[in-house]
Structures are given as structure tokens and as C-alpha cells.
């Protein structure tokens, strides 16, 4: 049995799942000041002395990292940057505790200037004087050669400090994003560690020896004790739960769009052949662009409780929310009121809904019924326009080979999955988009189901340079020598072996390690008209999805 718990902004949901059947579910209010308490409350509703020994794993989503960042409850971090020449660091918003240090490597990972130990020691003293305990070290092109970051770390390390290294968090290129990622990782390390300890205490308290997993931004799980060094991977755990919930409740193998229509916003996500799309470079949080692998989702300011106004003779919906629908005692007319007035949904006070819409109808010079209909249609149109725009953006994403440009995958949704309170607007959106809609079962606890059934995901990035006779796996901080005869197939093999070990270490069951090569390129390196080696680039991932036998839809108990 699996216990899945999703800590949402309003509710904390828990589900018990056995053989992909929903056994029990529970819903409690989230206490934003004490997430642990909400977790415990939800868990205790489902766990009993009888079933505790049948629970194989507990999987949690957590808002702890996201909240810490958004609410600025983070530690002060000293950032040590080995930036070398290039883009002026003044162009970036780096904060005040930045220390520039000598040393950098070029695009091939070849050291150009070495780290200077005397300088690092001076920086170390300054950091000590400023009483900063969390440190991030980031080098330009460190994912092409992690050695300088490691050298600097060795000099800065002492027992009172925690150090985050840029290359360990992502194998991708992007120095400014690597800085942001490393900074956030260092900044939330403390608070996250506290959370992990609380969870471990809880497990001890219930007296069971159950492995606990955390849902990451990419919709994959990781053993909680393995997540301590990379807490930043757990940002956006909540939205990821939502998308995994669609997978868990919908039978999906096709291209699709999913909408989670809430009170204030509508979240749009996209699936290619039943697999949720990832952000191409990494997710953004609190205005910072990171290298964190995360599920693609776009939030727009239209929801069931958005304020509806008439401006310049036309309807305007959102983006602000000023309370619940008028039918439920709220101050302003909302799309929910329109649906209630239209009779599309049946709750709240229909007269109050009509009364709230009446002034709008007057301004539009139509009757209340027509105004209500216009509001619902307008909301549907706004959402469908965004969906179209997002698909156009995704399908027009730049590519770098002729093959991809001419033959690349184009996403053509076959189904629209809609969840959330105001899902009743779904038929109108589907009509605009021209494909059918579906409202999955169990949508009230679908996030928790997504959490419970998500598999472990991971990625490794291999760079092999046979001229240098060197292979680098950035995320693992590994540099090893290779023979001149090393070829693409060898790199793929190393990638798969490494990924399998990594995923197993993160808690994946062997049957859930389904690997996919997402990048495999081999370039002849020619210097002065002679081939001097090969530059080989490989990425292998376990893509987001459900644990192996969980691919089928969750059935009723």
C-alpha cells in the first residue's frame, strides 16, 4: 500500500492506494504556519495500527521549499563565483553577498585560469566575519569541468558551513541560472533540513520503518534523505502533484492539454503522447530563472472567483480575486456566478448570482441571462486563447538540426482534461479548441493520487571529449578518462549505467527504471583539416510517469 499526501495551499489531501485502487481518502485544511501539523493530521486519518505494517512507502508533496522562497524565509548566502570573462556580472541581479574569485574553464572544460587558494582563503575570512554559514560556489562552465568548484569548496569547507556546488544541481549550460539555482539551494537548505527531521520524527513516532519519498518539480520522487543535498529540486512540488494527478486519474497515451481551474488562476499543462512536458531550461520561481528540471505549467489569471467587470463596453475577467462568488456571499460578480445564474452548476444562491450580474447586464444592454452566458463564453475564450498560444509556442520552439526542423514532433492535442471547481466551463472551452474534454474521476483527491503513484525520475548529462580523453558527468561530479576509441554508443552505455545506479539510490524500484535517451550527438572535431577527436553529448533520463503497473487508471475501491 502507498500513502500519498499532497499539501496544497488550502487543503491537505491524503490517499491510501493498494494495487492502484483507491482504498481511503482524507481531506484536512492546510495550516500554512505549520505544514507538519497538516501532514500529520491527514496521515493519521488514514493510518491505523492495523494497516501501518502494510504501507510500503509514503510519498509527500511539499510546499515548504516554495513557501520559504516566496515568503523570503531563507538564509543569507555567500555566493562565490568563478566567472571569468564574458557577460558582465553587473548585468545580473546577484545580491550583496557575492565574492568574485579567480579561475575559470572554457566551453570545452579546459581550465584557462586556476583557482587561487590565497584569494579563496581571504574570501573565507570575509564570509566568516559576515557570519554567513551557507555558501554557494558556481563556476562558468562548471558543468563542463567541476574541478574548480570542488577545489574552492575544499578551501572553504568547515564544520559550521554548508556548501552548495553549482555542477551538482544540473548538467545544463546557463551560468546565470546555475547561480540562481545554487543560491536558492543554499538559501533553503536549513529550513528544508528542519522539515526532513520533522518527517523522520513522525515516522519514528508511528513506529514504522517506512521509506518516505518527496515529489520533485519534475513530477518524480526521491527518497527524503537523498533530497537533503538538493532541496531546491522540491520547489513546485505542488503544481507537479496536480499534473501527476491528471496522469493518475486519466487514461492517457495521447497528446493532451490539462486545465486545473481554480478560484484565482487556471493552470495549463501539456502532454506529449501521454507524458507531461518539462520546462525546456528549468522552472522559474519568484522571478528567478533556474536550471531545476520541472514540469511545464503556465498559470493565467482567470478562475472561478475572478472579478468580472465591464470596461469600455466590454467584459473584463480577472486577474484579481476579491473573495468567493456573490452567490456564496462574495462582494463581486464572478464566472462562478454566471455559471450558477445560467444553471450550469447548482449550488449557492442563484438569486444573489443574478443580482450581482444585473448591473453588468445593464451596462452591456442585454438581459441577465445573456450577460451570464457572455461571461461564461468570455472565460472559455480567454482560456482557449491561452491554450492555443501555449501550443504555438511549444510547437515553434527553436530546434538545431534539419531533421528536427522538418520532421520534429508537433503536439496536436486529442483531449482536454479539466479539473477544479469551475470545471463546468469545460464544454465551452472544448468547443473552442475543437477537441473533446474529459473530467477525470476522483478529481477532488487527484493530486494526492498523483503523488502516491509517481515514479522516481532522474537525468544524467554525459560529455565525452576524445581529444582530451575525458568524460564528465556533471551532476555526479565525475570526471574519468576514456580511450581515443570511445564512441557515441559507449557514452550512451555509461549514461544508462550511471542513471540506473543513481535512480536506485534515489529509491526507484528496478521495474520503474525506464530510461530514455533524450540527446545523443557526436561531432567530429577537426583542427587544421585533421580529425583530432570526437565531441560526444548524451543525456539519459527517466521521464516523469507513474510507477510501472500504475499506468492504468485508478479504479473505484
Amino acid at each position: 500500500m502507498i500513502l500519498g499526501i499532497d499539501v496544497g495551499g488550502t487543503h491537505t489531501d491524503a490517499v491510501l492506494v493498494r494495487n492502484f485502487q483507491l482504498i481511503r481518502k482524507a481531506k484536512v485544511l492546510t495550516n500554512p504556519a505549520n505544514i507538519m501539523a497538516s501532514l500529520l493530521e491527514a496521515a493519521q486519518k488514514l493510518i491505523s495500527d492495523e494497516n501501518i505494517n502494510n504501507i510500503d512507502r509514503i510519498v509527500l508533496s511539499t510546499t515548504i521549499s516554495t513557501n520559504a522562497i516566496v515568503q523570503n524565509k531563507i538564509n543569507r548566502v555567500a555566493m562565490v563565483l568563478l566567472s571569468g570573462p564574458g557577460l558582465s556580472p553587473e548585468t545580473l541581479d546577484l545580491g550583496k553577498d557575492v565574492y568574485f574569485a579567480r579561475g575559470y574553464v572554457n566551453h570545452r572544460g579546459i581550465p584557462v585560469k586556476n583557482v587561487n587558494s590565497r584569494q579563496i582563503n581571504e574570501i573565507s575570512n570575509e564570509i566568516a566575519q559576515n557570519q554567513i554559514r551557507d555558501i554557494g560556489i558556481v563556476g562558468k562552465f562548471s558543468s563542463r569541468n567541476p574541478q574548480q568548484e570542488m577545489d574552492a569548496a575544499e578551501l572553504l569547507q568547515d564544520d559550521s558551513r554548508h556548501i552548495s556546488l553549482g555542477h551538482t544541481l544540473s548538467g545544463q549550460l546557463n551560468f546565470p541560472r546555475r547561480i540562481a539555482t545554487t543560491y536558492l539551494n543554499a538559501a533553503i537548505h536549513d529550513i528544508y533540513q528542519g522539515f526532513v527531521q520533522d518527517v523522520q520524527k513522525f515516522i519514528e513516532k508511528i513506529g514504522a520503518n517506512i521509506p518516505v519519498y518527496i515529489l520533485k518539480a519534475d513530477g518524480g520522487t526521491i527518497l527524503i534523505n537523498k533530497s537533503m543535498e538538493c532541496p531546491v529540486q522540491t520547489i513546485h512540488s505542488g503544481p507537479a502533484a496536480g499534473i501527476m494527478g491528471v496522469l493518475a486519474t486519466a487514461r492517457m497515451k495521447e497528446d493532451a492539454v490539462a486545465l486545473d481551474i481554480g478560484g484565482t488562476t487556471t493552470d495549463i499543462s501539456v502532454f506529449a503522447d501521454g507524458v507531461p512536458l518539462l520546462e525546456p531550461s528549468g522552472v522559474a520561481i519568484d522571478g528567478r530563472k533556474t536550471l531545476i528540471r520541472g514540469l511545464y505549467t503556465k498559470s493565467i489569471g482567470v478562475g472561478g472567483d475572478s472579478v468580472v467587470k465591464v470596461e469600455n463596453g466590454g467584459l473584463v475577467i480577472g486577474p484579481q480575486r476579491e473573495g468567493s462568488a456573490a452567490a456564496l456571499g462574495g462582494p463581486f460578480p464572478t464566472p462562478t456566478d454566471a455559471m450558477i445564474a445560467e444553471g450550469i452548476v447548482d449550488f449557492g444562491d442563484r438569486q444573489k448570482a443574478r443580482d450581482a450580474i444585473a448591473p453588468l447586464a445593464k451596462m452591456l444592454r442585454v438581459d441577465v441571462q445573456d450577460a451570464a452566458q457572455a461571461i461564461v463564453k468570455k472565460m472559455a475564450a480567454m482560456i482557449s486563447d491561452h491554450v492555443r498560444q501555449i501550443l504555438a509556442e511549444i510547437n515553434n520552439k527553436p530546434v538545431y538540426t534539419i531533421h528536427e526542423l522538418l520532421e520534429g514532433k508537433i503536439i496536436e492535442p486529442k483531449m482536454l482534461y479539466v479539473a477544479g471547481g469551475p470545471a463546468a466551463v469545460a464544454p465551452f472551452i472544448a468547443q473552442n479548441l475543437g477537441y473533446p474534454y474529459s473530467i477525470p474521476d476522483h478529481s477532488e483527491v487527484s493530486n494526492a493520487l498523483g503523488v502516491a503513484l509517481a515514479r522516481t525520475t532522474a537525468e544524467v548529462t554525459i560529455l565525452a571529449d576524445t581529444e582530451k580523453r575525458e568524460l564528465i558527468i556533471s551532476e555526479e561530479g565525475r570526471v574519468q578518462s576514456i580511450p581515443r576509441s570511445f564512441v557515441l554508443a559507449d557514452a550512451v552505455e555509461v549514461g544508462k549505467t550511471t542513471l540506473r545506479e543513481k535512480a536506485a539510490g534515489m529509491g526507484a524500484r528496478p521495474e520503474d527504471i525506464i530510461m530514455e535517451v533524450t540527446e545523443s550527438q557526436e561531432f567530429n572535431m577537426v583542427r587544421d583539416f585533421y580529425t583530432t577527436g570526437k565531441n560526444i553529448r548524451v543525456k539519459v533520463q527517466i521521464k516523469p510517469g507513474l510507477i510501472s503497473t500504475g499506468a492504468e487508471r485508478v479504479n473505484h475501491a
Partner: protein, 436 residues
């Protein structure tokens, strides 16, 4: 010093699956390290730098500026349609106002492709700037255009296509033709009889460094642009003047390229050559992108940059100053040269031997242009290549006068096609292309 930010479109298409041949300079690896550097610097995350996917150019786009023998289908692969399409995308984004300027960082290049194309020369099959220029004239009605070719090799293809066009100012700065392919581009190449001064060549001595390039820019190119008043400035941005380029002998740096771009402020830049793929291109391209976007490029520097080592000699400085003076003297006389060049002739003829190094083809060509005071003049070309193909072409210029149109149409209609494989009619003004 804070600069004015510009919205810059970037069309980046490295064609990682295409090469002329495995060890050729124009191979898959060419923009690999450029991509690495652009990605690592995070340039695509700047809100004022927007990346676009290239369009594919059509055969009709190519037929607006080339006479491809036998046809563009035969002469191009998808890679060429994409690189020309990338240039078109750049132009569209600029002319529609979506961005302030754009850089087509695409391959393969095009500036050695001439009006008549029997094959590939200097790694170029079709002239991607010319395809773009005719596209924007046709779609956006742009009239006056300047092309500043900063590739190390003479932009002989672009020069050839616009030789008789007074509305397209083609300025090429390059390493002296006596020391480098294609061996042309001397100052006395000054344009056809109806377009004198619309072709400008400024050959520079080997080992010219930043100082020399920027001197020519300030003292020749910018004053000419000031006077010509183009609606659009296009930079054929070859990167092989770099001190580390393996097939040239100049001493230009990434800083120099960025400064040149900042001062020139092209509306559209299109990548041409540049084969120091590891030591130059990553830094030059980052410098150019930052300069176009109005971002600080002062700290962009090659790892092995050494200002003293690449500094040009006083002798080179003297030569360049002298040449700049000569070119400007000629430029100032351009309006008075016509009588001298044409005399009383009604038609001017020039004979050309063109070698296609990439495809190893030899072409003999006779180009005849009608002397005309109202337009660029109708052009007739008789071209025979050692592939056995002989063709005849009539080309009406972009703003063709009625007399030239009438004589051009007559030439085409009367032309007996029996001795030619094909006879072409290219009407750049009305966008008509006929083959018989």
C-alpha cells in the same frame, strides 16, 4: 556606461546534422561551441533577446535574385533553404517591428554565390543575403538598402548580384585579394555603369587589427552610409577576420567585432564565414549579440587574447589611412565618372571567368547592360560552364524604366533558345520569373 537596450531577434540554426563533407570547415561542429557559449552566458534569458525558428526559403524566393542552372531545386538542399529562410525570418521580424534588429546566426553561408549559379563556390550555393533583400523589397517595398560585408573574403557574390543596382550599396572590407580567396575586390571595382559608387571595396593588408577595421568604419563606411541614407543596413557578418582563424591572416578580435557592430548598428546581421570555431566564434558571436541588444560587452574576451601580440604595425596603419583617403576620393567623384566609363556606348559589356572552387566548375560569362540614366539598366547574360551547360538570361532591375523593360522583353521574346540549355527572364520589379 549604461546603453540603450534594443529588442534583438536571434535566429540560431547551427544545422548540427549537415556538412559539406566530414572534414570540411563547413561541418556539423562549426557552431557547436558558439551554442555552448551563448547558452552558458544565458543570453536567451534576456527579455530583450528573442529566439526564433527559421522559416524555409522557397524556390520562388531564390528565383528573385539568382539564375540557378538549371534550377534552384538542383542547386540547393534543405540546409540552404533553411539558412536563407533564417535570413528572411530575421528580416521579417525587423520590418514588422516585432524587434529592433536581428541576427541570423545560420549556416551554410552565401556571399560568394553570384547572380548566375552553376554550383557552389566558397562554400556557398545561394546568396542568403540577396534572397533576403529581394524578399524584403518584394514584401515590404523597401527601396534603398546597404550591405556591409565584414567577412575576411571579398563578398564577390553579393557584389555581382547588385553590380548594376544603384539602390543597393554593397561595401566589402576584406583581406587584400592578392593574398586570399577569391582574389578580387579591389578599389576600382566600383559598380556597373548605371550604379557607379554602389559597389565599394576596401581591401585591407594582412594582420590588420581592431584599430584598422574601426578606422575604416569611422572614416569610410559610416560617412558613405550617412550620404547614401539606406532604409535598411545589413551586415554580412563573417567572423574570419579573427586573429585565430585558420584560413585567413587578419588580427581582429571579439571586442573589435562587437565595437564594429555597435557603431555600424545594422538592422540585420547575417553570419557568413568564420572557421576558428573553438577560439573565435563563441566569443565573437556573444560579443555581436550583446552589442546588438545594447548590453555591456566590455568583458567579452577570448581566453588567449593578447592585445600587444595582435597589434597592427605602424606600416599597416599608414597603408590603411592612405587607402581610406583614396576610396573616399573616388566616392566623392562617383557622379562625374559615368561619362568617362560609358562614353557614347548604348550598352556596356564585361567578360568574366568564374571559378567554383567548392564544385570545381569553370564558367565563362558575358554580361551586357543597357546604359540608362533612369534605372539600373536591363542586363543580359550569356553564360557557359564546363559542365556543358550554356544559358542566357535577361534581368530587369528593381525599379525598371519603360525603355529598359521594353528592350528586355524584346530580347527575351526574340531569343532563339536552340543554342542554350535554358533562357531565363527575371523581372525583379514585377516579381516574374520565366524559363524557356
Amino acid at each position: 556606461m549604461p546603453k540603450k537596450l534594443k529588442k534583438t531577434g536571434l535566429i540560431f540554426f547551427p544545422a548540427f546534422d549537415w556538412a559539406i563533407s566530414p572534414n570540411h570547415p563547413e561541418r556539423e561542429e562549426r557552431l557547436l561551441y558558439t551554442q555552448d557559449q551563448v547558452f552558458e552566458e544565458g543570453l536567451l534569458d534576456f527579455p530583450n533577446i528573442v529566439e526564433y525558428k527559421p522559416d524555409l526559403a522557397t524556390y520562388a524566393d531564390i528565383n528573385r535574385c539568382h539564375i540557378c542552372v538549371p534550377n534552384p531545386q538542383y542547386l540547393t538542399t534543405n540546409s540552404h533553404l533553411i539558412s536563407a529562410g533564417g535570413a528572411i525570418t530575421a528580416a521579417k521580424k525587423v520590418l514588422s517591428g516585432e524587434v529592433d534588429n536581428a541576427f541570423a546566426l545560420v549556416r551554410p553561408p552565401g556571399h560568394h554565390s553570384m547572380l548566375v549559379a552553376h554550383g557552389a563556390r566558397g562554400f556557398c550555393n545561394i546568396n542568403i543575403e540577396a534572397v533576403m533583400i529581394e524578399y524584403i523589397r518584394h514584401q515590404f517595398g523597401v527601396k534603398r538598402i546597404a550591405v556591409v560585408d565584414t567577412d575576411c573574403h571579398h563578398g564577390d557574390g553579393t557584389q555581382d548580384i547588385y553590380w548594376n543596382d544603384p539602390d543597393v550599396l554593397c561595401i566589402s572590407i576584406h583581406q587584400d585579394g592578392r593574398t586570399l580567396y577569391p582574389g578580387t575586390g579591389f578599389t576600382d571595382d566600383f559598380g556597373g555603369p548605371n550604379a557607379l559608387g554602389a559597389t565599394i571595396n576596401i581591401p585591407l593588408p594582412p594582420r590588420t587589427s581592431d584599430e584598422g577595421f574601426l578606422f575604416v568604419l569611422d572614416n569610410v563606411i559610416l560617412p558613405m552610409l550617412e550620404e547614401f541614407k539606406p532604409e535598411i543596413i545589413i551586415n554580412s557578418a563573417g567572423q574570419d577576420n579573427h586573429y585565430s582563424d585558420p584560413i585567413t591572416n587578419m588580427s581582429f578580435s571579439a571586442q573589435g567585432y562587437a565595437l564594429l557592430n555597435e557603431k555600424l548598428a545594422p538592422d540585420i546581421a547575417v553570419l557568413e564565414g568564420g572557421y576558428s570555431i573553438e577560439k573565435a566564434l563563441p566569443y565573437v558571436n556573444v560579443g555581436i549579440i550583446l552589442a546588438m541588444a545594447g548590453l555591456d560587452f566590455s568583458q567579452v574576451r577570448e581566453p588567449d587574447y593578447d592585445a600587444l601580440r595582435i597589434r597592427q604595425s605602424p606600416e599597416i596603419t599608414r597603408l590603411i589611412e592612405e587607402e581610406a583617403k583614396n576610396v573616399m576620393t573616388l566616392w566623392k567623384k562617383k557622379k562625374n565618372l559615368k561619362k568617362q566609363v560609358t562614353g557614347s556606348a548604348a550598352y556596356i559589356r564585361r567578360e568574366k571567368n568564374i571559378y567554383y572552387d567548392t564544385d570545381n566548375i569553370m564558367e565563362k560569362q558575358t554580361e551586357t547592360v543597357r546604359v540608362c540614366d533612369k534605372c539600373g539598366g536591363v542586363v543580359m547574360i550569356d553564360s557557359a560552364a564546363d559542365t556543358g551547360k550554356r544559358i542566357y538570361a535577361v534581368i530587369l532591375p528593381n525599379s525598371c524604366c519603360p525603355e529598359c523593360r521594353e528592350s528586355g522583353e524584346n530580347f527575351f521574346n526574340r531569343m532563339n533558345s536552340s543554342q542554350y540549355n535554358h533562357v531565363y527572364f527575371q523581372d525583379r520589379q514585377k516579381n516574374v520569373f520565366i524559363v524557356k
